[in-house]
């Protein structure tokens, strides 16, 4: 149960157009049930693309992805994707945002609001139920987005740099909050970030991608008890390992970008 298996997955955006981009190339890895996997890699390496594929919003151009042994053919409330950008509907109150998934399934208003309130309480936003998203801070908005995923009973949380836009304090707070929710829940998490500390703090396992087109560079199990001490020597060692693994990739990504820009300006 809860097992995601990617086999030789390739994704090319804009196939058949002049703006063809290979985002992922020949990616094979799997996520076990209940595992907290963090994906890191240079920006533009296809991390968001990977989550789109896992959620079923997009189909791979090559290879296969299965969930619980079945090929993924489309979005499924079992696997919820939480975006980096604010994704609450600004015209709905917080509670109606959280209850939206149930509303789509035809759950009566009173019932779905009761359910939503339960999850709002879990993420500490009960008093904000009737506020609208613009009245919430960035951290609160992301918590509401998480509540929205939980409200549908998602077994797999796919999170695309959900805390990237938050300040350091809030980000740290949100990380422990996420661990609190996850621990003992049996839920599977695939969490994308480009923050090395975030990866080392959260993950059971860190999957490292190369610069575009993203390929699997390494997979590192994090063997530290939780809650983790971010200034311990152990933590420092993982941090150093990721920095070292990523440095060459980031440099490559930069060089490619510069090259692309140079070519671009020359064509113009």
């Amino acid at each position: 149960m809860g097992e995601i298996v990617c086999t030789n997955v390739t994704k090319v955006w804009g196939v058949g157009t002049t703006r063809e981009v290979a985002a992922l190339e020949n990616v094979s890895f799997s996520v076990r049930h209940g595992e907290f996997v963090v994906v890191i890699g240079p920006s533009g390496c296809g991390k968001s693309t990977l989550l789109m594929l896992l959620s079923g919003l997009e189909m791979p151009t090559g290879g296969t992805i299965t969930y619980n042994g079945e090929p993924i053919t489309g979005p499924d409330a079992d696997r919820s994707l939480i975006f980096q950008q604010p994704s609450l509907f600004p015209w709905r109150s917080t509670i109606d945002n959280v209850a939206f998934g149930l509303q789509l399934r035809g759950v009566p208003r009173k019932e779905r609001r009761q359910q939503a309130e339960k999850f709002l309480r879990q993420v500490g936003l009960r008093e904000f139920a009737n506020k609208h998203p613009h009245e919430l801070s960035g951290g609160m908005q992301q918590r509401a987005a998480i509540a929205r995923a939980l409200c549908l009973g998602a077994d797999v949380l796919l999170m695309d740099e959900p805390f990237a836009a938050l300040d350091v304090q809030t980000r740290f707070h949100m990380q422990s909050f996420l661990l609190d929710i996850w621990l003992g829940s049996g839920k599977t998490v695939v969490f994308v970030t480009h923050h090395i500390d975030e990866a080392a703090y959260l993950a059971d396992r860190v999957v490292i991608f190369t610069a575009r087109p993203g390929r699997l560079l390494d997979s590192v199990d994090i063997d530290m008890p939780r809650p983790r001490n971010v200034i311990s020597p152990d933590f420092e060692r993982y941090r150093a390992l990721f920095v070292e693994r990523l440095r060459s990739e980031v440099t490559r990504a930069f060089q490619e970008q510069e090259l692309a820009e140079m070519l671009d300006t020359r064509i113009k």
Binding site: L81, Q85, P90, W91, H132
Partner: protein, 283 residues
């Protein structure tokens, strides 16, 4: 507690002061125009038959009431009723036209959003027709619908329909993909996405376009009433000229200005009320 109470009362007193100052400028601005008008008339510098001073055409509202009725001069009915039937005739046309035009535009735009073939077939034509001023449709409208409500409503309809259709498709294409994807992840069908995401997301845009085109539509109705349709505020103004009764013309003009202004204010209030989240959120 005391501080908490003082803050709103100070805010509202500030708002009240702002309102008084603003109202003062309005009175002064209009007052100057009326004052100059009255003085030049009193000094005999202008022909008061052509430009009757404001106190005159306002004072004669009662005498003009018979002309403001739907069927001018047939029966004398109470003043207020008469004024309101002329206003009502124009208002009804513009509101029905706006309503029908908006509904049709959103429908066409949505179809074009989903059916590429439909869009490719219709949008070049719609794009060509959109820039035609509503008033330019009047001759065709009168030929097609005769001299009644139909022609005036048609003018408003075409005035809003083409532009709003283009705006609908354009706004739909620009809905932030993250909202659509969020809905898809939560299991929304295409129809649910349309209803729960696309429509609410584009509503503020449509309202802005509606408001921008409202004045052209309003003028279209008045022009139609002037040249063919025999009732409503536009007809009142023309009737005054034909009978060399400039008191009536000016009264009509004053009402047209006032009603147009109030309608725009009303649309503005509605926009704030219904779409309040737009100013605070990026959509």
């Amino acid at each position: 507690m005391a501080a908490a109470l003082r803050v709103p009362s100070r805010a509202s007193s500030l708002r009240f002061r702002w309102f008084v100052v603003e109202a003062g400028w309005w009175v002064l601005s209009v007052g100057i125009v009326i004052g100059i008008w009255e003085i030049t008339a009193a000094l005999g510098l202008i022909n008061t038959i052509i430009l009757p001073p404001p106190h005159k055409f306002v004072a004669e509202i009662r005498d003009q009431s018979q002309f403001l009725m739907p069927q001018p001069g047939v029966t004398a009915i109470p003043l207020h009723f008469a004024v309101f039937t002329a206003i009502g005739a124009s208002l009804r046309r513009v509101l029905i036209g706006l309503l029908l035009g908006s509904l049709a535009a959103v429908l066409t735009g949505s179809l074009a959003f989903y059916l590429r073939l439909f869009r490719n077939l219709t949008f070049p034509t719609i794009t060509m027709l959109a820039p035609i001023a509503p008033a330019a449709w009047i001759p065709l409208a009168i030929l097609a619908f005769g001299m009644g409500d139909g022609a005036a409503i048609f003018v408003v309809f075409v005035g809003i329909y083409f532009t709003l259709t283009l705006a609908t498709l354009n706004s739909m294409n620009n809905v932030d993909q993250v909202y659509v994807n969020t809905a898809r992840v939560l299991g929304a069908s295409r129809r649910q996405i349309m209803w729960h995401v696309i429509f609410p997301a584009i509503l503020p845009n449509l309202f802005v376009v509606l408001r921008m085109n409202f004045f052209a539509a309003w003028m279209g109705v008045l022009a139609a009433e002037m040249v063919g349709v025999r009732t409503g505020l536009g007809a009142v103004v023309v009737m005054g000229r034909q009978m060399m009764n400039m008191n009536l013309t000016f009264l009509g003009m004053a009402i047209i200005g006032l009603v147009g202004y109030l309608l725009d204010v009303g649309l503005g209030v509605l926009q704030k009320r219904v779409l309040w989240w737009r100013s605070a959120a990026r959509v």
